[in-house]
């Protein structure tokens, strides 16, 4: 499945690394596979490497699409 989590970048570290946070749990990861990541961004982290930035607008859009569906009748 490739376990990966969306984590908040809380600090940039030397050697292209960052401190990230997931629900109050902090960890570090490598930024070698991504570009232009800034503090405050969310990244998708897998085996200690950020694989991409998470697009906040797209996330909103996905949720909005779901919200537009008619509520459950049951």
């Amino acid at each position: 499945m490739c376990l990966a989590v969306p984590a908040l970048v809380t600090a940039l570290l030397p050697d292209d690394r960052a401190t990230v946070s997931l629900g109050g749990v902090s960890s570090t990861c490598s930024l070698e596979l991504v570009e232009g990541v800034a503090v405050g961004d969310y990244v998708i982290v897998h085996v200690g490497y950020a694989l991409s930035r998470l697009d906040a607008e797209e996330a909103e859009r996905t949720l909005a699409l779901l919200a537009e569906l008619p509520a459950d009748a049951a």
Partner: protein, 348 residues
Amino acid sequence: MTDRRLFARKLDIARGAVDMTHGSGGKAMAQLVRELFAAAFANPWLDQGNDQAAFDVPGGRMVMTTDGFVVSPLFFPGGDIGSLAVHGTVNDVAMAGAVPLHLTAGFIIEEGFPLADLKRVVDSMAAAAREAGVAIVSGDTKVVERGKGDGIFITTTGIGMVPPGVAPSGDRARPGDAILVSGSMGDHGVAIMSTRDNLGFETAILSDSAALNGLVAAMVAAVPGVHVLRDPTRGGLATTLNEIAHQSGVGMRLAEADIPVRAEVAAACELLGLDPLYAANEGKLIAICAEEECDRLLAAMRAHPLGRDAARIGRVVEDAHCFVQMETRFGGRRIVDWLTGEQLPRIC
């Protein structure tokens, strides 16, 4: 236990070897205990299948229990091996509804272990025993060569007296009973994992290690007829409920939304691909009681500082398969099975 197919095949005693899964609290351990230890030692007290044995002595009903503590690191957020060794055994005594009386402590120390650390451990044990109101009345010290131990191992044994009319046991869960827990699940397991360098994460989570005899005293005062008490240690809530289900020959239905889990514990488990229901607790208990006594029991629990976050998480049902099932928070249903193997961090 009623599920004859619980273990797919017998232990391969001729060619097999002990591995870490035999100590992780899951099914492999249950099998080792049943096919090797219980088979050899068979007696009515061991066969009770609880974490402690209860037996009659001239002056009443007594319980006795033992546990070895091999935790690494020895000092962890929220506790250390010393306090844990007291809490763990006090709790196993208390889970019989008993009042803990005396403890013994056996130390196996690796040569080279700093006396300063030993003193820290021993002082912590002494403080924990004082707080729990028990005395460590006898002990033993062994020293093993470097490389044949791991700093320090402690085995504590406890005895206690069960008040008349109180007799909780893992085989007493009945369909219709309510299932309660005394607080959030998985704190200890996650606190320990957070110290492992190679897992590379940090949290503010502390072990919940605590002596539960005070809480239990309040509980049995309110509901002397409580059916089951057990602390979900190794293997976590999931494994402990499966044990009880098999012991009682019943099924269970849990509501995921009602199971208290701290946000940080959930997050750490998310990160590692683990499930908080399988993470160890050292200061929490499961209680199962008749539905009509549930509110009274819950109130008694919540009135105690160690039961503040107590919650009713489900009910006992009839089920020949002894399945523990759960309504997921998401709205579906699933089995909450025994721990298989060890909880190892996953990448997929």
